[in-house]
Symmetry: C2
Subunit: 215 residues, 2 copies
């Protein structure tokens, strides 16, 4: 039995409706993430989804509806790694795996990352409530967990919220600024193995910083 995501009380969706909507959302992710909301046109999305514009508009009445649906679906996937950050287990290990999971997401879902980045960059006009609600709550929650670790002396004392920001920033950078990263690394080893190199680097950075280790 299907339970509809949010839309206002239409009767339960047809198989075709579910399939086509998914097709459209996939196409829209491709187009929105590459050009931003304003830069993307319905025609582009329709073509990428292999259907005509009026046909697409039969499934989503307005361009903004597509974007909104996409955003809502994505937020869950996107925040999953942070949700998993758990109080049990060794703090340093927990944080290390959080960083790795985030980096894997940047590698495997760069379009999703760019979609969010695009939205935030332009002032998050369409997802402000989500940021101030769901996201803030989650971060508050996890910041408390991290704070507990600090108080217990398990990790160094710093600002837990800025720690989370820095993990987001460093990992998502490899998705959002991919072209720049590749341009700078140039062809050759760096370009091919950039995610492995990034993983190793970030682990070093977050665990021990730059100060030379006395051995």
């Amino acid at each position: 039995m299907s339970a509809d995501v949010q839309a206002p009380a239409p009767r339960r969706r047809t198989r075709i409706q579910r399939e086509k909507r998914d097709l459209i959302l996939e196409a829209a992710l491709e187009v929105f993430s590459a050009h931003g909301f304003r830069g993307a046109t319905i025609d582009q999305i329709a073509e990428a989804a292999g259907m005509s514009k009026p046909n697409l508009l039969y499934y989503f009445r307005r361009k903004e509806d597509i974007h909104e649906t996409l955003m809502q679906r994505l937020l869950d996937t996107w925040l999953a790694p942070l949700r998993e950050l758990d109080d049990v287990g060794d703090p340093l290990t927990e944080l290390r795996s959080y960083i790795h999971r985030k980096l894997e997401m940047a590698r495997d879902f760069p379009r999703e990352s760019r979609l969010f980045a695009n939205e935030i960059l332009q002032g998050a006009p369409r997802i402000m409530p989500l940021l101030e609600g769901e996201l803030k709550t989650l971060v508050d929650d996890k910041a408390a967990v991290i704070d507990g670790w600090m108080r217990a002396g398990k990790i160094a004392r710093t600002d837990p919220r800025h720690l989370i920001f820095s993990i987001w920033a460093t990992t998502q950078h490899y998705a959002d600024f991919d072209v720049q990263v590749r341009a700078v690394l140039g062809p050759g080893r760096g370009d091919e193995h950039r995610f492995e190199d990034a993983a190793r680097f970030l682990e070093n950075l977050f665990m021990d910083g730059l100060r030379p280790r006395a051995r």
Copy 2:
């Protein structure tokens, strides 16, 4: 009589031309950084610059010309902090001030940061050559400097290029993702002092990482 194909070789510019062009570029920075290239309209820029659209088009023949000029002017300012990274002086101190300077730029020139972010996010269609040329050269150069420090045992060994990326990512995050940062910190102390807090946090992170310090 005019024969110039595109930019170069116009006779020297009038005082009015210089003033108006600057005015337009300032307005364009505001508008482009807030809406992206495609999202910005010539009318918006013209209004922000306090002139009519045809008047603006008298100084810049095409929308893209404004963007291009803006980009070229900005790159210098933007990379200045990295250029200053110097071989002389204590490596850790050098890196610390680089981080601080970058963070100050994110605080004082958020529009510039967002303009670049927008461009890179969309695949850098208009500045690819700059990335592969000027930027890559500069990074190669500074990576060599950092590498020297590592070989000399002055800082821990890691990947110098990814180190640079991580500094860019963490500092620019406070400009590019400002709305998200503010939404998550919420009103109150965090919001007001976010840049000071960020500075302190980043210094801790880059110097010593998260491992609890034996005291």
